[in-house]
Subunit: 207 residues, 2 copies
């Protein structure tokens, strides 16, 4: 069982929160709009609570479920309130045409979060290659990148509690390429696959 705080009250916050509750985890919802956070916590049920925006999260794992351009500002706003926490960035910094990243440097939102996160916090990139509908209804692989093996193991426990397979792709700098995999997923949906009910995963071909 993991103790989760979700920063955000949108679709992805609701989907992750619901799966987290179903998986037996404790969930706190933190929203800039406190009433929206309370509404989501109530809708989630399962003992979900509401936290105050910017306060120390109740959860050990803090999932930032905001639009990509709100992630770094939110982590900076929380500041030392996130000391010692495991911050999970799930964002996709797509450009306006969804065929490139919003940043052209070889970085990622996760790496930028690490730059503003307080001492003792660790950052993991996860979930960004999974469309919301698939996360709600499917059993996709969940790719994970991070510099801390312990943090990745902790996120792995949480992912497994959702009935999903966590797959470590390496250090946090690989988050850049996971964001690229997010682009590929959109490209596949609109070109090769032709629908959105799929996810990238690792298919094994053992002899």
């Amino acid at each position: 069982m993991s103790s989760i705080s979700v920063i955000g009250t949108g679709n992805m916050a609701r989907t992750i929160g619901a799966r987290a509750i179903a998986g037996g985890n404790t969930v706190e919802v933190m929203g800039r709009d406190q009433s929206k956070a309370a509404d989501l916590a109530k809708a989630l049920g399962g003992g979900a609570t509401t936290g105050e925006w910017g306060a120390v999260p109740a959860g050990d794992i803090v999932i930032v479920a905001l639009l990509f351009d709100g992630v770094v500002p939110a982590v900076a706003r929380y500041g030392d309130a996130l000391a010692g926490k495991l911050i999970v960035d799930i964002s996709n910094p797509f450009n306006s045409t969804f065929d490139g990243l919003a940043h052209h440097e070889e970085t990622s939102i996760a790496q930028e979060v690490a730059k503003v996160a307080p001492a003792g916090a660790t950052v993991v990139k996860a979930f960004n290659t999974v469309f919301r509908d698939v996360l709600e209804n499917g059993r996709p692989d969940v790719f994970i990148a991070g510099d801390s093996a312990q943090a990745k193991a902790d996120v792995g426990v949480f992912v497994k509690s959702l009935g999903l397979r966590p797959l470590d792709v390496g250090d946090l700098k690989m988050a850049h390429w996971l964001e690229g995999a997010g682009l590929l997923t959109v490209g596949l949906a609109s070109h090769g696959v032709g629908h959105w009910d799929f996810a990238l995963g690792a298919t094994e071909f053992l002899d």
Copy 2:
């Protein structure tokens, strides 16, 4: 049936050549070392022929199966001999530690090939996310990027003849992110999956 020329005589040339023959395609092998090319053509059987390095390839689809830093020079060397051909870049420009690309610009070997290819040639990126052993023994998805829908359709016919699923990810600029997916595949092998007998693919979760 497709008519294929493979530039290169290494492991990937042999594996693609063998699957191509098995799939009922015609195969020509072109090597800098003519005797190695002849040896490979003989080993492939199935009527495989040998072409002269730098001459007009017999195949409509020209698969450049060289180490990544040899791809652009080879295409430049062939020059107008590739006019009207469909050039397939399968390379992975990994850095020396296999955790980043050798180039840090937002480009790809495929895009660089397009810059030196002669008028009328088209370029498609394909196969780079598939480990050689998996290509030999498995049924991986084959991701394809390119600017020409006709060229992608032609490569798709070839990929299907190998018993594999072609998946279009979009324009040629997506080749950069396919190269990143190559990095993720290596990262997964050494971290999350723990072996090399797998490939990235699209798993569907239709209701």
